[in-house]
Structures are given as C-alpha cells and as structure tokens.
Amino acid sequence: MSDSSLFQSLMHSLGLGHSDFNGGIHPPMHKITAAQASEVSPMPPVLIVPLKQHIGEACIPLVQIGDHVYRGQKIARADAYVTASIHAPTSGKVVKIEDHRIPHPSGMGLPCMFIEPDGHDTIDPACLPIVNWRENDPDLLRERIRQSGIVGLGGAAFPTFIKLLRDRHHPVHTVILNGIECEPYLTNDHRLMLENTRQVIEGMQILMHVVQAQKAIIAIEDNKPDAAEAINACLSKQRLDLTVEVRLMPTRYPQGSEKQLIESLTGKQIPAGKLPLHVGVLCQNIGTTKAVYDAIAEGIPLTERMVTVSGDAVPKPKNLRVRIGTPMRFVFAQCGLEDFDDIQILHGGPMMGEKLRSADIPIVKSSTGILAMHTATMQSVHKHEDPCIRCGHCSIVCPIHLVPNLLADHCRNNQFDKAEDYHLFDCIECGCCSYVCPSNIPLVHYFRYGKGQLAQLTRERRFADESKARSEQRERRIERENADKAARRQRVRAETKPVLDGKNSTENDGDAS
C-alpha cells in the first residue's frame, strides 16, 4: 500500500501518471438510466417556484399576483451579493405567492411563487443571445451569467458568477469540467454529455473565455466510456485551437467532489479554507456548463434542468428535462409512481441526498435527482447503532484524512470545541465513513448535528456581543445625558441665585455673568 502510493507520488513529481485522493469507497452504482435517452417532462398544472434556491439571501418578488409572465422573465430579484435571481420557468399567470415546502431536511417552507402555465411557453422577447460571444468582454459575459440566475447544478447551488470573478493574484489557467457523477443512481450529467455534447463543449469554451484560461480538462469516470467517446468525437470534428484534454478517472466515490477531483487531476491539495482559484483552477459541473451555454448562446436563463428519477420504487426510471418548480409528485407520475405508501423520497443521490417528508415539493435548481426507495430497502439503516470497535475503517476511507470515530464521539457528547479542533468543518459529508462502519454508526449525521450546534453557538455569541455593545452604548448615553442635565441644572441655579438672595451677594454677580 505505502509502496504503491510512494511510487505514485514519485511518478507524479516526475510528471508521469496522475495522483489520486486518499480513501474513498466503491458502492454499487445502480446507474439504471444511463443507456436511456432523456425525455422532456410535460408541463404540470401549476409550477411552484421557491424564491430562494441557492446559498445566500432570499430574492424579492418583481411581479404581482395576477401578472402574466414570459418564460425566462425575471420574477425575483437578488439584492445581496451572494444570490442568484429567479426566472419564470414558462409563460403563464402568477396565481399566488405563499409559503410552501422546499426540498430541505427540516421540512420547513419558504415563500414560493405559484405560476399557472398558459400552454404557449412563450419566451420573453427580452431574452436575446450573445451570438458573437468570442469578441465580447469577459466581464459582460459574466454579468449575463449572473443575470441568468445560474448556480452550481451539481447540488451545492452556489452562484456560478462568483466562481468566475477574476483575481489578479490568482489567474486561472485551467478549466475543469466535472463529468464524474460518482453518486450511485444519478446519470443526468452522463446523458447531457451524450445528448448535448456540442452545447457542453461550447459552454466550456465560454467559461474559458470568461476566466481567460488556456487549458481545459474534461474529467469523466471510467464507467462512462461512451461519454468520453462522444466528447472526443465532437472535439476532433470542431478542430479547436485550444488545449482540451479528456481524462478518464478511476471509478471511486467521491471522485466528483471538487477538491478530491482537483487533487486527482493536478496532484495539488487545496488547503482548508482555500478555493480552487488559489491553485489556478476553475471547476464546473456539466449541467452548469450547459446552463452557461443556454444563457449566452441561446439567451435563455436557467429555467430547466435534467433530473434523474430513479430508485427501486420507481417502475420506469428515466432522465427528464424538467422545468424548475415542477412538483415532484408530477415528475414521479411520469415514471409510473403514484402511490407513496411505505416509500422514502431522497433529494439528490443516496450518499449525500436528503430525505424528504412529502412528494408535494417542487424541483429546484439543485435537484440533481429524485429517488424513491422502498422503506424496507432503506431499512433506516442506522436505527441500531452499536459501540465503536475502533476498527479504523472510517479513517481509511475518509478523503479528508479525518478521524470520524473521535469526531462522532465529541459531537455526541456535545464537546463541540473538541470536534472543531479535530477539523469538523473540513468534513465534506460524503458519507464514506457511515457507509463502511461495521457498527452502523450514523457518523455523518453526528457531524451534521455538530456543525449545526456550532453554528448556533456562534450565532448566539455574536448576538450576545452585539447586545452587550448596545447596552453599553445606552449606558454611556444615559450617563452623558445625566451629566448634561446636571450641568444645566447647576447653571440655572447659579443664574437664579443672585436674584433670590438679593443685595448681600455681590461677589456672585461677577461669576454668573
């Protein structure tokens, strides 16, 4: 083991072969939908569009109930910096704006806009393509990407334009297209690479132009050779004058995690708290790249995405092109699933996805896939947690080199400061540790609990500090006011005294004036 890794690092330092990330697992892939062409989902009777679908602040609605909207029309504006605007997924009428459940593990809701499609799907006449984008200013293209509401479609939903900001000190030399898709069941990026090869490649060129990179790597897991072939064929047909390299990567979860992929490709580890930018790399997911193409070359903002509908409870699993806001119940119905008794719904893949409590939740920008599993298969795997036997499996598979069993102990015992010392916040919640643990310890769940509690403590501490500052400020103000009042009283007394005392206080006269 150590011999081979030594050999690998030697090879890498000599510029031969490529390095790899630590740990990882090989779960059964269940990529049932990989060989099947995607379909376009019909329009549901009503679209439920959440007004916040990204990390960051919520958006402010721009239209009112009763208004008619076009497809691609901006319906909610992003004011804060880290946000992405929301666009109408089709043309129709805004029927109401109210709280509705969103795909979130809490089962809580957020303001959503309900749009009744008019059946014409008319695109907003204001949506114009930037045809000659090659001659255009990168900043203008980036602004268009920002205005088009594009976020990372791999699940994190981080606004894309922020990753595209150029930094004088850290120029980006390589764009990496992440076509790994290492989560079991999910095949939406795979289908995009096969069916929209040209668009994905043009999207990549746009990204390279925006960050002024000279080189691109398209990374694909070696269980998708057809995707690599399609991309190679398309590249040779276009005879691009760019350096584009297609790399087949060994199939291993979590190969597609951004930092792990970059480590595998470049041999560079991104230190905790740093970004890919700091090693000169921009990493984008396939779906996001296609969305960038749509926004620039077609002029259509992000209103639709590819969703894998799968799981052992779905009779006809498939990939569907779904408008944002389509209720999951409607999407599952396209795949033959109507009855949700004894069925668990997962949003995202089985490793990192979140359990949802109902099917009446809309598809959002971050919905890579929706899985329906029989409760029996899910078996609430982690109901019976046994004591840790210190086998060390969890540490071996952890791609971040953490010690999951110790971390979980600290989280369980509410020793959050210790958990932080053991780098709790570096955990990417990939789930490898929980997957291999022979004692069935829900390790990741403990980490999520610990992270939440720490965030809560930080918030409370900040609020306490602010309250203290406010109270001290108030006390100073009151003191000042009292001092002023006392001074005024003294002055008034000094002025009035000679009058009251009459003639016998001649000395005071001089003082008072």
């Binding site: 969103i102 979130h104 593990p105 809490s106 809580m108 809701g109 957020l110 982690h382 109901k383 019976h384 947690e385 046994d386 004591p387 369980r412 015992n413 509410n414 310890i441 829900p442 769940h445 403990y446 999520r448 609990y449 992270k451 939440g452 509690q453 965030a455 809560q456 918030r459 409370e460 609020f463 306490a464 500090d465 602010e466 309250s467 203290k468 406010r470 109270s471 400020q473 108030r474």
Partner: protein, 188 residues
C-alpha cells in the same frame, strides 16, 4: 560568596517580578470578565441584578449563585461552574423558549416609556409617533411590557428561520442513552 550570589539573584528576580506586575497589570476583574462573556447579554434582570455585568461581578465575588441566569440556561450555568471550580447547580426556572417583543402599532400612543425601558435600544419611535421594535435587536427581556400604559406590547415566539435550522441528534438508542447520561451527569 554563596550567600552573596544567591542574595543578588533574589534581588534581580524581585526587581523583574516587580516590573512584570506593573507591565502586565490587568484592569478590572478578569474572572468577572470571563463570566460576562459567557452570559447571553439579554440584560433582563431575572437574576436579580440590573444587568449581565453586575451579575457577572456578583458571581465572581461569590455573592451570587451560579444558577440564576434563566435565558443562559443549563449550558451557561455549567460553563460558569467549570470556570469557578464549583459543583453545577440545577436551574429552578423552566428553560425559556426564545421570545421577542412586538408593538401593536395601531394601539400605541407614542409615550416613549418603552423606549426608556429597553436595555439594548431596540425600540425606535418619537413622542406621539407609534413605536416599533427592531426584531433583530430585541433580546426578549420583557422589560418594556410593564411600563406600557396601554398594554400594546406582546411577547411572541421568535420566528424560526430555515437558515438557522440545524440537524437534531440521530434517532438511535445509543445517541439517546448518551444524551440521557449527559443530562443526568449535569444534574448531580
């Protein structure tokens, strides 16, 4: 000779120590500062002192008990017990759910009495204008309720934000047992 050199050494050390106490002199009471940092700064006065700072000072000088801060709850009490090196003590009052004050504006007569009562300046308004409470600044201390002559201030449960939601502990027996053990341990 030995006496001389030892004496000389002692003299030098004494001088260094004297200088050090001057140079590193700490203003105020460091223990009170530490306790104050643990308190939630609600400034509610439920501990019987007119604010968090006075309570911290009273605890530091061992005048007050360590378990009088209701909003701080068990966590704060245990932190103070740890710092003071004393046994934890159960909190008698029930654990409070976070609240905020809310002015029913159409009933407010603009008397400014609540503004004067608020310890963190969270109420804005001018005489004869109705007042309103900055939700993000309100600590939920309830000090504005009594002064209001028309009773137009309500205490409402602090709204839960989806961004502030956090994962509960896993629902497994071990996690529950661990939790119970922790709780009972804290109450001894």
């Amino acid at each position: 000779m030995a006496i001389l050199s030892l004496g000389g050494f002692a003299l030098v050390a004494g001088i260094i120590l004297a200088i050090a106490t001057r140079a590193f002199h700490i203003e105020g009471d460091p223990i009170a500062d530490k306790i104050e940092d643990m308190l939630p700064q609600t400034q509610c006065g439920q501990c019987g002192y007119p604010g968090c700072r006075p309570y911290a000072e009273a605890v530091a000088s061992e005048v007050a008990e360590i378990n009088n801060c209701v909003p701080g709850g068990e966590r704060t009490m245990i932190a103070i017990a740890d710092l003071m090196g004393v046994e934890p003590k159960a909190i008698e009052a029930e654990e409070a759910i976070p609240m905020i004050a809310f002015v029913r504006e159409d009933e407010c007569i603009g008397c400014t009495l609540c503004i004067k009562a608020c310890p963190v300046d969270a109420i804005v308004g001018a005489p004869k204008q109705y007042h309103t409470i900055i939700t993000d600044h309100c600590t939920g201390c309830t000090l504005c309720i009594d002064p209001c002559p028309v009773d137009c201030i309500d205490m409402l449960q602090k709204p839960e934000l989806i961004e502030h939601w956090s994962w509960p502990l896993p629902d497994t027996q071990r996690s529950r047992i661990g939790h119970q053990r922790r709780e009972s341990h804290q109450h001894v």
